[in-house]
């Protein structure tokens, strides 16, 4: 066994893997944000709250209709996605022509309302949710103990991330979407229902957040403030990757997870700050982000 900077190599491999797993949460959440910003030009500040709603939906489904983790993984994002569609129809659709600030304020307000309402009904301590039986236990990889659930998290996340990227960048539907963002009037002239497409895109972005929330429920505390703690980091990821860049969000999410993981070994106190240091540097050198296009 060899050492790298005084840390045994197998410990380091373990930390890299952990970083990758955390990165997959960042990637999934920032992916939703990037899709929404890229297609709707809305800075969705309620993304963290919608992630939290996903976790709460999973809990409620289990409590009141006996639906376990696997069905919840599909049902909860659909339910929360529907609330997203309502939000878009009722509020957001009036804001596209205005400054970004309006969308940001509206979604921030919504986030506060979602959090306040859940806290009122469920308190602040959190709710119990356990790892599904089929994914209990773990594998001994030699250099670390890898819980089965974490392995599943990383596989599922990669699949969803790649799938979304593929749909938007490589399919006809994605082409319509991208075209509709560039020039909605022209795309409409071709007989495509642009407002419907935009609504569904927002619903999809929200559903992605809820999906991440369901996956987080077994390992993180399910509490009303779980989203607001994470969302700031996720915004930093999106800014570093370049606002609206889907590939950027995915790559940066995983990359920053790894960097954060390494910080936790070498300088644990700074692990929450590291991402923002990187953000500041990136903004100085490349104001549009690593993968962003200059406006």
């Amino acid at each position: 066994m060899f050492e790298i900077f005084g840390i045994p190599s197998n410990a380091l491999f373990g930390q890299l893997l952990i970083g990758l797993i955390n990165g997959s949460f960042y990637a999934l959440l920032s992916l939703g944000l990037a899709v929404i910003f890229g297609m709707l030009n809305i800075i969705n500040f309620s993304h963290g709250a919608q992630y939290m709603l996903g976790a709460f939906a999973a809990y409620l489904l289990l409590q009141y209709s006996g639906l376990g983790y696997w069905p919840a993984l599909i049902v909860a994002p659909i339910l929360v996605g529907i609330t997203g569609v309502l939000v878009e129809r009722l509020f957001l659709q009036w804001l596209y022509k205005l400054d970004h600030l309006y969308g940001l304020l509206l979604t921030f307000g919504l986030a506060l309302i979602f959090e306040g309402v859940t806290r009122n009904y469920f308190g602040s301590a959190g709710l119990p949710y356990t790892v599904p039986d089929s994914l209990r236990g773990g594998q001994n990889l030699g250099f670390m103990f890898l819980p089965n659930y974490r392995a599943w998290v990383i596989v599922a996340s990669l699949t969803i991330c790649f799938g979304t990227w593929f749909v938007i960048e490589r399919t006809r539907l994605g082409a319509y979407l991208r075209a509709a963002t560039e020039n909605p009037a022209l795309v409409r002239a071709f007989g495509i229902n642009v407002p419907l497409m935009i609504t569904l895109t927002y619903g999809f972005g929200v559903a992605l957040a809820a999906y991440a929330g369901v996956r987080a429920a077994p390992i993180y505390n399910v509490s009303p403030q779980m989203g607001s703690e994470l969302i700031i980091v996720v915004f930093a990821v999106v800014v570093i990757g370049g606002m609206g860049s889907i590939l950027g969000a995915i790559v940066t999410g995983f990359g920053l997870g790894v960097i954060e993981g390494l910080t936790k070994v070498f300088f644990p106190e700074a692990s929450n700050t590291m991402i923002f240091v990187i953000m500041a540097i990136v903004l100085l050198v490349r104001p549009a982000g690593l993968f962003g296009r200059r406006a």
Partner: protein, 404 residues
Amino acid sequence: MRKTLGLAALAAVLVCGSANAQQINVKIGVLTDMSSLYADIGGPGSVAAAKLAVADFTKDHPNVKVDLIIGDHQNKPDVGSNIANQWLDVDKVDLIIDTPNSGVALAVSQVAANKNGLFIVSGAASSDLTGTKCNANTIHWTYDTWMLSNGTASAMVKTGGDSWFFLTADYAFGYALERDASAVVEKNGGKVLGKVRTPLNTNDFSSFLLQAQSSKAKVIGLANAGGDTINSIKQAAEFGIVKGGQSLAGLLVFASDIAALGLPTAQGLVLTETWYWDMNDANRAWKKRWDVERNAPGKLPTMIHAGVYSGITHFLKARLAMGPGAVDNKAVVKKMEEMPTDDILFGKGSIRADGHKIHPAYLFEVKKPEESKYPGDIYKLRATIPADQAWRPLSEGNCPLVKG
């Protein structure tokens, strides 16, 4: 004529005097976190407990009239001290009680000292409140960091957990817990193998847990609170820490945290509390009434709530003994220290010269899911720590009120 006037005046004095003797007006302010992180350990539950205390006392003593007001400090020391200032200056509040969050409690304690108010802390943990930062206007009621780490750490070391690794929340409270617990571990012949400082509100502890795992320490001490504790316990279960032979020691865990974790995850955790609802009939009966007042199914009363009830009860007793009219709050504190405490929840106890309430503490273990027979049945008692051993010795706190 002069005689009649004199008699009338005398009569008036007598009438007023007897009216005063009957009526004692007191205003109590519950200053707590109503809507954020600590709303379940204090918050609305503390308000419910305060209402019960007032109802019980005024039933037996109808000549005492209590006004109860509520303040939400939002976990911000500036908001907390603003409310305390206003309560003391404008609203003439006689007692400020509860106040989870050590930062806010230390600030409010300072306000109480400067304005000669009276402050009973039930919700906050820092042992500095009766240590270097103690004052003649503050009483610390329910628990503190020294008691928690002493109870849990010495019990763990005595049962074989003699090597420790700490996950410490990276701020003053975490350091205090880690410092107090390390001292206890080493005093009992154990060793501290390492520690890692985790930023406040960390979502993912797996990295730190791996470090703890590879340290091969027998006990992993969690010197953190709230969401950090819940996340670290949840993920420790996932990484098979307890199954792998290491134990977890929660240095600050409340019944409400166990409810949030669920027994399958929390089972086997060892922790110290000073009050548990299912320990005796009096507590169970009180919980029934608290449930009605709180009106939130599934919530458990915590030791903080019980402390609010007990603190208000003792304050009202002292206030009654001092009779009507204006009183000096330092004198009320003195009176409370002179009178032995006795109530249905904590039994008999006393208050020390440094302002610390003294009662036994209990070492609990979280039950396995199959051992739990009804909702809220979460602890089994492992040991009782007598009142004279549970708390930091008076001489070691460096409280300026304690001479020599």
